[in-house]
Symmetry: C2
Subunit: 480 residues, 2 copies
């Protein structure tokens, strides 16, 4: 058991130092590490496998709404990036430039894509002519690069993995509907599969995506009370497509503008999984997104028949469709338990000589450590039930945490004290002016507007900052 | 029917101009097009969907052999690329360099990965210490960039999609076995799923990958008689890992070198699918790799009940697990047939008023245009049989073509005339000297050594070029 202790001791308690706890979990669970390229990550097998699960689940949800996948180039010519003014202003300071190809300097420089609105619009400007060509509902899974100064694993790195969906439509309404549909896809995916409850709404002017008319967001609350923007869906109107001269002719041969959307979710979400569900023993993965759902751990495996029975159990589980592994290495069981816990594998199944004698196994849940003795003949059925219950419980716990960390304020004094005391989201009225957003951030020491929720409440008549008539109720929080 | 004709007329006959036929098929089937970034492709929905099928099928085969997926950075620091001498010599002339990050020039430049041996070795040099850390059997799906001068869709472009597997092992034998295992995975995947027969073997010294000790290859023959290197698997020995100082200590705490492999398959293989199976009507996709296996086409769909029945049929097919679509647009049936044929969808199912009356549908195979009348209640069973038969037939036809395009030569005269007459592969003896490879290429006008097959035949005692004692029998061919 000494070894087990050492493993867990390598993780700082999350109440002592949350940032250090996060770094420790990422390292000990072997999710990713920093590469020799400053600010870029190596996504290691345990971390990348989570991303693969996210990709598979989310991609299916996308395709159910009619999304088609494509892949456009990693490079964007400088002239193309400059076509939409707000966009280049937003991205120019943080792109990497390719200036040499082979042994020769290039006549025009290219940036590595920080996002691909310009490339998608370029393709459509050459191929979309008629109403019959609409809508285009495309998505790509790729990496993007933004030359960030400070970086943290999954949360902020120069290169990160994401999907970026881009669509164009014949009408304003259809595009707006698509923006909301995709926001809902993200919401359902994150709540149902990742067991992370959300606050949903749209961004204020100053927090919108560069060039967007509206940005919808889903915001999650981490265990330290800070907010994490978990996915966004943007409505562009016609500004982008007009800049690229994308027009279509209707049935009467009249030319019209098209309406655009884009929407994305990145490997940042893995940071959210860690910070919502993790504990002092390491990662806790929601069963629906766990690359490995259960680990079989033989007890006293040197005794006759134990490894055979454990192997049979593994085969049974796999045949029933579970993502199961076995740890039949020569490490001590305590060490194996710790490894399974650190890596957040939702359940382990212990099987030793006594269990075999009694025709049973012991299933241990990662989140609660609750043990269930299960007759070996019923394991494939019971394990599913345990995983399903665990998934629900994890969501309920996170939801209770979120609910208990939403407060409201009607004065700046209240805002200040509540924000600094409890963290979490504070609901408060706002006049709609950016100056007040800046002032609130300055006074509270970091509360930014997270979103204007779908359903606003009327907390008072006036902006808590300037006292002028309130336009919106806003969720405020400190953001990652 | 006029419209149908026009569609097909947009494809040049493959006997008239094979290169133009290829370009026409890629364009008309909407697989990919050139982007605004010179030499880079846009992978459009129809083309990318094929790549997604390839990824899913091949990735499963990889994982069955114990492969784990990762993702390493898109950028490689110059100093890292230079660590292995042969490697940098091979790649330096064709990489793109990033020299500016954000608004500032970089102190060290980075190249966009042309391949990632150096990055994988860099990770392992920091993390591998003990025999317990071995083997590492990693793979990544990503894009790479090589600054090519001439480009062709799928066959050669600056950026292309691929997977690159990288592994290290404690022993020479284990690494060599992995090299061969992966070569076999490619062979089985390409022959079984893509219906493309292969010639397998290893590369001569001059055709090996930069820095590799042995390169194993699978070579396919296109309909124009040219060869296409379809996947490669490299054995590096210890040269790469030694250059990166990757060592492990064994159970006795003694330090040892590790042995490395790498292996890859790219979107080039889509070019092979087109050029092996396509015909004058367009693409023909092997059923096992087709993103859409069947298209339901209603006949006289304005008549009462036709669209309803067609919709029911679609639901039945999907419920049975088929990737099925329907074309219920207002185009003429002939036009719909042509589109399905151009896109290579393996079957179409025609359903009209008469069929409905008689409780039947008509299944038409894309490759032979053979029609099968099927009772509507039996369609889910029969369609599977038809697709399975088509898959087998496509392989058999391609195999017959390959076999009839393998010849042998024992003199240079014979080599010259046979190579220029028939194309295809010519088997001939070789002394092992690069000078003779160059001479054979020059004299024949382009025959390069494709591989030394697993099982060599003894055609004569001497090299056909220099007359000195022969070391190997080589497959020669003109390569894409």
């Amino acid at each position: 058991m000494a070894k087990e202790k050492k493993l867990v001791e390598s993780i700082t308690s999350r109440e002592v130092d949350f940032a250090q706890w996060y770094t420790d979990v990422v390292r000990e669970a072997k999710l990713c590490d920093y590469s020799g390229v400053k600010g870029c990550l190596n996504y290691l097998p345990n971390g990348y496998a989570i991303w693969e699960k996210i990709q598979a689940d989310l991609d299916k949800r996308f395709k159910d709404t009619g999304v088609e996948n494509v892949y456009l180039p990693v490079l964007i010519p400088e002239a193309l990036l400059q076509k939409e003014a707000d966009h280049i202003e937003g991205f120019a300071p943080e792109v990497a430039w390719v200036t040499q190809g082979g042994l020769e300097p290039l006549q025009e420089k290219f940036c590595i894509r920080p996002t691909s609105e310009t490339l998608f619009c370029d393709v459509w400007s050459k191929t979309v002519q008629s109403y019959r060509d609409l809508p285009k509902v495309w998505n790509q899974w790729c990496s993007v690069l933004r030359w960030e100064k400070t970086t943290r694993p999954f949360l902020r790195s120069r290169e990160f993995l994401w999907q970026e969906g881009h669509t164009i439509h014949a009408t304003f309404e259809e595009a707006e509907q698509r923006t909301l549909t995709m926001r809902d896809v993200y919401r359902d995916f994150i709540q149902d599969d990742l067991a992370i409850p959300l606050v949903c709404g749209r961004k204020t002017e100053s927090e919108k995506f560069a060039g967007a008319q509206d940005t919808y967001t889903v915001e999650a609350l981490m265990h330290d009370g800070q907010a994490l923007q978990s996915a966004t869906s943007h409505f562009f109107g016609s500004s982008f497509p007009d800049a690229f001269d994308i027009k279509y002719s209707d049935k009467n041969n009249e030319l019209h503008s098209v309406y655009e959307t884009s929407w994305g979710l990145s490997t940042r979400i893995i940071g959210a999984i860690i910070m919502v569900h993790g504990d002092d023993s390491g990662l806790v993965l929601p069963p629906r997104i766990a690359p490995v759902q259960t680990k079989v751990i033989p007890i006293a495996q040197h005794k006759e028949g134990v490894l055979d029975k454990a192997g049979e159990l593994l085969d049974t589980l796999r045949a029933a469709g579970y993502a199961a592994k076995i740890d039949d290495s020569d490490k001590a069981p305590g060490w194996k338990f710790s490894e399974q816990e650190i890596q957040g594998i939702p359940t382990r199944i212990e099987i030793g000589p006594k269990d075999i004698e009694q025709g049973q196994v012991v299933v241990v849940r990662r989140d609660t450590r609750e043990k269930t003795v299960v007759a070996i003949g019923e394991i494939t059925e019971k394990l599913g039930e345990i995983l399903e219950t665990m998934q629900k419980d994890m969501f309920e716990r996170a939801k209770a945490f979120l609910d208990s960390h939403i407060d409201s304020a009607v004065t700046m004094e209240e805002m200040n004290s509540k924000f600094n005391e409890s963290r979490g989201f504070i609901k408060a009225m706002w006049c709609g002016e950016e100056a007040c957003e800046d002032e609130i951030k300055a006074q509270t020491g970091g509360a930014s507007s997270r979103c204007i929720p779908d359903e606003e409440e009327h907390l008072s008549d006036v902006c808590i900052c300037c006292g002028k008539p309130a336009k919106h109720m806003v969720y405020w929080g400190k953001a990652y």
